[in-house]
């Protein structure tokens, strides 16, 4: 995969804090370019965070999430060395995912 997601997972006591930064234009479909033509909507619709292949958080987004989205979530039960993944799918069907190990 393109691997455009920067992701970090860090333990804080029994809670694992995941921070992810995705690269995406998040176009609402409401803006116009200089010629006055509408720029088509292009935004991430679905984001999933997994811990050792178990989903811990699943979300649906609208176009109101900022460009190059940031996401922070926390879950219990993680251990150092475990795998954390963040995956997204946008409204055009494109996908990306990023992976890291818990520190």
């Amino acid at each position: 995969m393109a691997g455009k997601i920067r992701i970090r997972a860090q333990l804080d006591g029994d809670t694992c804090e995941v921070k992810a930064l995705m690269r995406h234009p998040m176009e609402t479909g409401l803006r116009k370019n200089q010629a006055g033509d509408a720029i088509p909507a292009h935004y991430i619709e679905e984001v999933t965070v997994t811990h050792n292949d178990q989903v811990v958080m699943h979300s649906y987004w609208g176009a109101a999430v900022s460009a190059n989205p940031f996401l922070g979530v926390r879950f219990a039960g993680g251990q150092a060395g475990d795998t954390v993944k963040v995956m997204w799918r946008d409204n055009t069907g494109a996908t990306d995912e990023g992976e890291t190990t818990i520190r």
């Binding site: 803006r31 811990v56 109101a64 993944k85």
Partner: protein, 158 residues
């Protein structure tokens, strides 16, 4: 055997797609079966419509700690944080973020499984000065907290 390179690339794309689908399919079906996109709520154009699409107007709750900037210099990137005090509001399954005066108030919906903290941090676009809502869905209904953010520069690329 010689193969056209174009076909090879398409094949690789399909393979990638397969990996993603497999990853999605591997998650507990129980969770995924219950999560469908609340399209009506995302399509609603005002707060009343959004709450109606969810099925309930949330009650105010002190258990939701909603952190937003009072003044946003750039409406295109407004950091928000939702935390839930689980002693006041237990059993949160979902968190929603709504921006009152956006074309579609519903910005995002987050579903947690057991073990995932009712906590989320992200950044949203805020078209103009208005109230931001953090809504929590629990087994006993919907709860919310709201805060106003003043926008000095619009969220639509202004």
């Amino acid at each position: 055997m010689k193969r056209e390179s174009g076909a090879g690339i398409a094949r690789r794309g399909l393979l990638r797609m397969g990996i993603f689908v497999a990853a999605v399919a591997a998650v507990p079906t129980k969770l995924w079966a219950t999560i469908t996109k609340p399209s009506a709520a995302f399509a609603a154009t005002d707060m009343d419509g959004t709450f109606a699409a969810l099925g309930q107007t949330p009650a105010e709750s002190a258990g939701i700690i909603f952190t937003t900037p009072d003044i946003a210099e750039n409406g295109a990137v407004v950091p928000i944080k939702i935390e839930v005090d689980e002693s006041l509001l237990p059993g949160v399954r979902r968190l929603y973020v709504m921006v009152e005066k956006n074309p579609n108030p519903m910005a995002a919906m987050f579903s947690m499984i057991e073990g995932t903290r009712p906590y989320v941090e992200t950044r949203v676009k805020v078209a103009q000065t208005c109230n931001l809502y953090a809504v929590a869905e629990t087994d006993s209904g919907f709860y919310m907290a709201s805060k106003e953010t003043k926008v000095t520069l619009g969220g639509c690329g202004g």
